[in-house]
Symmetry: C2
């Protein structure tokens, strides 16, 4: 999905979803993306093409009504997150008036939390409270910076500082997974496993509870490596046999033996898994092992 | 907020939020975080401490009911996203039965999209459809890998390949912002501006429509640099005057002159802004400039 301009013909067939927020719009966009997952079966073959239009920073009634009017013209569905209750109810009423179907994504959960906590929501959009960015926020940025520096085994001497260490052969997704976890606040290091080349000694010196092995189906890996070899021009790391089936199998077996010798490292099969799915598995295991719980969960204090 | 184990005393005072998903739980967590933003004013001083507990991969009734029961014991609020309608209604009924307040985060938006598109939701959780990962998904991973390689001006010869180029002095958040944008599918390069050191010539050769200058209040920058200098031991890049006010001011003025000489580059003040907020501003401007629209928006096709 890339950026598009609707032309006349499109307007007739493409179903529009308007996403409106007084903040960044990322929360509502995340929800729309997850909900659209339920319609993948007809989206992928373009049986029902959908366009989303994200409007961020909408914090006054005038802009809001203009967008609502445009949504009505385009026959769009209108999704919004507006902290100011009077703006939220203006959106609801304008949509009703102009026959635009609409959903308030956060209204219900915010109200439910309010009565759970016994306090009222501030009604102020993101950034308007004047509260400083939290320590947790700066910790997450530090985790991203740490993680980038350790990428691809760059600083094996720093493994001890990492919260999580990922290891696996090339193209098991170590880098994007590391970055994804880093943005959630974990300092991640990743160590490549290369056939015939040892891993750094420090990998065996760190707490095995924080090490995770990644594996993948050999056919799928070969496919990914071939595609990569094509876009990079020959093999990405100078190994010409990088995507040959024998080599792929041998390298995965080499990794498998390393994992077998370190039975405390959980091994995660990433075949067909999106990065965020593997991240969910890693973090569930990570928190289970840190806090022996009756039920697997990730807990946080606010 | 770090991981916590509830002990007896905590259970009495801390309000729990249970987050349950048949997928990763990241969507519901994102919503809870945004909604909790409305209560920042009482969370920050721990006036009303809150704990979240994330349960991912909950795709059968037995696990679901066990968690619901535990939520009842803890007096928790229960937030869920469950694609299977029978599981979703089981959650709703169990919560009702045991007096647990609950919110279905995606149910309403999924139903609304279904009637908008005139098709039914699959009812299958993430990963269960057997559909392959999309091209768009692999493009996002490629963007992350590209962006990491270009970090901190590493490959000025590759600026032409980037979708977005960020430039600014040290500690304006170029790296985390680049990574955030990369995960949304944009190839980002960032070019540091250092007092007395020129920027690479290639910066002036790329389409100015994709270059963004970052600036920040000098006092705030000095503070950030001081904190960094402390954690890194002296100055992070060997410049001992790195966080001295005169130096900070001069360097920002140096950047300001560069920006003035390139009036087509928008300059974004990142003071007090979270990375995701700056990202929203960058992408709004980026899409406005690519597609002259009557209303600023970011559009995507699915
Ligand atoms: N830290 C925060 N404080 C107050 N409101 C917030 C915060 N984060 C997000 N929100 C609100 O939650 C909704 C979603 O935010 P966003 O994802 O930025 O669109 C918007 O209405 C924001 O104003
Ligand atoms: N690509 C997808 N296909 C089907 N369902 C999805 C998809 N992505 C997310 N979902 C569903 O949306 C909800 C939120 O997903 P998650 O963020 O993984 O917890 C869960 O009920 C998932 O099963
Ligand atoms: Mg939003
Ligand atoms: Mg979820």
């Amino acid at each position: 999905d890339g950026a598009v301009n609707l032309d006349g013909a499109d307007v007739m067939t493409v179903k529009s979803i308007y996403i409106v927020s007084d903040g960044t719009g990322w929360t509502a966009e995340h929800c729309v993306n997850a909900a659209l997952g339920q319609f993948d079966y007809c989206l992928v073959d373009r049986g029902c093409p959908v366009s989303t239009h994200l409007f961020s920073g909408i914090d006054d009634a005038e802009k809001l009504l203009e967008i609502t009017k445009q949504a009505a013209k385009e026959g769009a569905f209108f999704v919004y997150t507006l902290a100011d209750p009077s703006l939220a109810s203006a959106a609801k009423q304008a949509c009703k008036l102009w026959g635009v179907p609409s959903t308030d994504v956060l209204g219900p959960i915010t109200e439910a939390i309010a009565s759970h906590l016994g306090v009222s929501p501030s009604g102020l959009p993101r950034g308007a409270s004047g509260l400083p960015l939290s320590d947790d926020y700066f910790r997450r940025i530090e985790a991203v910076e740490f993680t980038i520096k350790q990428d691809d085994g760059a600083c094996p001497q720093n493994l001890a500082e990492a919260d999580i260490v990922l290891t696996g052969v090339s193209r098991t997704g170590k880098t994007p997974l590391s970055i994804y976890l880093a943005q959630k606040g974990y300092k991640v290091a990743n160590v490549p496993i290369v056939l015939g080349v040892g891993v750094p000694r420090t990998l065996f010196e760190v707490d095995p509870k924080k090490v995770f092995g990644l594996t993948i189906n050999p056919l799928v890996l070969q496919n990914i490596r071939r595609t990569r070899a094509k876009t990079m021009g020959l093999s990405s790391d100078g190994r010409s046999n990088y995507s040959e089936m024998n080599y792929v199998r041998e390298e995965l077996e080499f990794a498998g033996r390393l994992f077998a010798q370190n039975p405390l490292w959980p091994v995660i099969d990433v075949t067909g898994k999106a990065i965020e799915e593997t991240a969910a598995v890693v973090l569930r295991l990570y928190h289970d092992r840190k806090h022996i719980c009756t039920m697997p969960r990730i807990s946080k204090r606010y």
